[in-house]
Subunit: 567 residues, 2 copies
């Protein structure tokens, strides 16, 4: 009450502001105009727009002062960075809030992992809100550390930065009216959706469940149909799902209402090289969207979508999260203010204290010792199933082929681009290993592996020979998680991801450099696909068609069942 009283005194001109941004053009998100006036800040909130004396002065002349950018849906873990490091990277780009679905960490560390992620984002210059993961495990055919049940979700929802139920990915069960899934949806009035390609009466059923957003549209017509049904359209530009360009037509035809930007999954190199929500604004404007329309999709709309009533606008009483942009083409942030304090200048975040990482989150890789026959593909067969990669997409083709055979056993055949693929259970040391064949990497020799393997994040390894596969897997167990490349049975390079086997403790630039080096090694070993580690990590996701591999074996996704290698 005292703070509020003082804020009002500053607004009236009876007390000195903490900080004033003077002379910038100020974006009015509620009218999509540019206002003239200084913006006064006190106690972390906007006091008003007018003329003010005193306080720390920021010269905004020539710039465009906009609300801090907001990501409407992101899995922070995909950055492979600790929350504080993620914040350092994106705050420099003008982002001051993200709404995350922490379902990667939830698969590995359960509700406690989500609590840790929230603790690890305490006190940052970035507001990190969380939705309670609704789909752990992604399906009954994969093995996270444990399921996240309604009680776990309810516990997460009690956190002050929890906003609702995270993307309900199991859309077939929602549409079918499965009571377990509907019970999760009913936990909170605010529920995010995930309904790729769902249209017509199935979409009606999905929306009728009470789900109010979707970020999976790939065409503007699909997005339009969802918006008509009252779902917020979250336009996505992820590393592996670049949908923005196709969806902007919805904005051209029907305006930016009920549209917001999101990044979903971005690899660290995309964050460092392209940026974050600023990059989406830049692209939208380059493709002919008015800057004011792009800005509301990057600020006020994500806030409204998530009921964040004091974010997303420069207006009295709102949180003082702002970015001073140099222009409305580059969207480069000269100054970023978070919670009323300067958090970045000239594209660099100012130093801040990051919370310490507790030891227990570094203890997540528990795999049984590999037996000599761990990667054995079984006896000779006439025809075998092959996972065929579709470049740049998460789906695969369920192919078949005649296998190579040695000593009566099916083996990899690099000459025909047939690599072995294995998923090793790594949460409870069960010794369970699923094996199969994959085509499309172009791997001629050696192997590569990762403990990032959606969504259960077991240890996935692809290889031309068993010794290199084993070298990778053993090293990742030693490291407590990470990414590795081997050849001739010897380790060539690695990126440690000690936190839950998902996150590095290094700076973003170091992580990117490591990943670049590992990709270069793989190119030397013949790998042709873009983003080979991300491609590898999604081969284990049992809910995206057609053929995948988990620790349970080959998964026929369409029919939701385990199938054998031999046809």
């Amino acid at each position: 009450m005292i703070a509020r009283s003082h804020l009002l005194a500053v607004a009236r001109g009876d007390a000195e502001p903490d900080l004033v941004v003077a002379g910038a053009r100020v974006f009015s998100a509620f009218t999509r105009e540019w206002l003239e006036g200084d913006v006064a800040v006190s106690g972390g909130r906007i006091a008003g727009i007018g003329r003010y004396d005193g306080g720390e002065r920021i010269d905004g002349a020539g710039g465009f002062l906009v609300p801090g950018l907001i990501d409407a849906h992101v899995h922070v873990e995909s950055s492979k960075l600790l929350p504080a490091e993620f914040a350092r990277v994106v705050v420099a780009r003008g982002t001051t809030a993200v709404v995350c679905d922490p379902h990667e960490i939830a698969n590995v560390l359960g509700a406690a992992g989500v609590e840790w992620l929230l603790e690890a984002s305490e006190g940052l210059p970035l507001r990190v809100y969380a939705m309670a993961p609704s789909c752990v495990p992604a399906s009954a055919l994969e093995s996270p550390r444990g399921p996240l049940g309604p009680d776990d979700m309810a516990a997460i929802l009690r956190h002050e930065r929890a906003l609702g139920v995270a993307e309900v990915m199991d859309f077939p069960s929602v549409i079918a009216g499965d009571p377990d899934v509907l019970a999760k949806v009913a936990l909170h009035p605010h529920v995010d959706g995930h309904a790729p390609g769902v249209t017509g009466s199935a979409l009606d059923a999905y929306a009728a469940a009470g789900i109010r957003s979707d970020h999976e549209s790939t065409t503007w017509e699909e997005a339009l149909e969802k918006r008509r049904r009252g779902l917020w359209v979250l336009l996505r530009e992820a590393s592996n799902a670049r949908n923005l360009s196709a969806l902007l037509e919805l904005v051209r035809r029907h305006g930016p209402e009920y549209c917001a930007f999101c990044t979903d999954d971005r690899e660290p190199d995309m964050l460092v090289r392209e940026g974050h929500i600023d990059a989406m604004c830049r692209q939208a404007v380059a493709e002919g969207i008015a800057p004011e329309d792009a800005l509301v999709m990057a600020t006020l709309h994500p806030a409204r979508c998530h009921g964040l009533d004091e974010l997303g606008a420069i207006a009295p009483g709102f949180h003082a999260d702002m970015a001073l942009l140099e222009d409305l083409e580059s969207f480069r942030a000269a100054v970023v203010i978070a919670g009323g304090v300067v958090a970045a200048r000239d594209g660099r975040a100012l130093p801040f204290a990051a919370p310490p990482v507790p030891g227990w989150v570094r203890d997540s890789v528990h795999a049984a010792p590999l037996g000599g026959d761990a990667f054995d593909l079984g006896p000779a067969a006439e025809r075998v199933r092959v996972i065929e990669i579709v470049p740049g997409q998460l789906i695969t083709i369920a192919a078949q082929d005649r296998p190579a055979v040695r000593d009566g056993r099916v083996v990899a055949d690099p000459s025909r681009d047939l690599a072995k693929l294995a998923v090793i259970e790594r949460h409870h040391a069960t010794g369970r290993v699923g094996v199969g064949l994959v085509r499309g990497f172009g791997l001629r020799s050696g192997a590569f592996a990762s403990t990032v393997a959606h969504d259960a994040h077991n240890l996935v390894v692809a290889g031309a020979d068993d010794a290199s596969m084993a070298a990778c897997a053993r090293r990742l167990v030693e490291l407590g998680g990470g990414i590795a490349v081997a050849d001739g049975g010897e380790l060539r390079g690695e990126l440690a991801l000690p936190v839950a086997g998902l996150l590095s403790e290094e700076p973003a630039e170091a992580v990117v450099a490591r990943l670049d080096a590992l990709v270069a090694m793989l190119e030397e070993q013949g790998v042709l696909v873009d983003a080979p580690f991300m491609t590898l990590s999604f081969l284990a996701l049992s809910v995206i068609p057609d053929l995948k591999l988990t620790d349970r074996g080959l998964i026929d996704v369409v029919n939701a069942r385990v199938v054998g290698l031999a046809v």
Copy 2:
């Protein structure tokens, strides 16, 4: 969960809907388009838009199916009708939800009165939401039954249909940072405002307090300034404050976002003769606003303003509140559906059960017997203060004049249009009577009186002679509240308002006919002003300048103090 499951089955086409509106053009509030398709309803909610078999069929061909209209801010008591009767009138016009500030009943019956109003609106075909009154009393210079404190407000806020804190009318105290008022604002994150003419740094302070709407703008420029600061602009068209036409320019220039319609105070004749939110749509379109823009201000926007996330659109999972309009000029509703059930056809509400009225709400007029000198204006004086009516406005002029004197006492002087005015405390029989002089009614003889007297609703009476004034006042005490006209010391006519002295128990048409007859009598007695009873009722409101009268005496509103009759 079972109901939700069934709704999904209807959406999928696997179960029969309760009701189908077939063949209408369906308004998509999220895109402002018209869709083709039948709308299926199950369990009171929208299942989907497509083709459906079975269920009760409503032929929508040739019509426009829109979400039920919503009033963003209304004092239901101003209709002088019981909530059920108010519902009967407005549901026939396509309204299916109102957000009311029950501060009239709160002045008379306290928190219990608000609870009763919510009970009395239970089970109606109209959803009645309430905000917790924040300004009872309107000022320390008037006498309601008792103050409504933060504890009372908190109790009201626990009701399932309570949405937040009602219009904070005491804007000077908000702006000044008064801790008592800020404590009321802090009771809930959703707070309605009331800031007539407040602009600049004062408006910044008002908004910075966390107040997020306003319905008092009289020019579009004032409304624009408020919208820029993040306040929802509630465009008002009340009996005594017809602001819509002036404010539509905001919509023309900046679109309908963050704008919604409201009626605030409508007399029963306006509701019966002109209508409700339908009349605002009709007027807006007649003045050149696109019907789709008018419709979002009448449906989705009031819902979003108040966080009613399942109202205001025809979309799966939303409440099935809809109106089938004949055209987009008259906005006449051929059929109204409320909660999935037909509630009105061809401009008439279907019968429904109204809750019984408990006896205690009829026991609100407790005035002490009038002494023979109750209306005595005091000894002769050279100059006296005179309240001068400004036709069609709530403000008055603080005039002065030489009084008529008889037997050494100041008296009324009908020959110079100087009537006596008295406000008799009627909640606690204190015997307190405030007296003064008023000019502008044109009253030549007799008197008229009302127990509707904003905001404290004491008994207000204006007269040319004391005997007629006393006859009116005595009759209103006998009636337990109402409106009366007398001449020559004899009662001529009356309208009983037994419920809290504010509401009739008669049908709207009967109330209107009575009021018409009373106004006709007053015309015979010389009264020239439009809406004389409403004008009378606002002469007691101590927070609208310049000179008013309460039971405490003449109020110099600008200086917030009691002043004597003699200058």
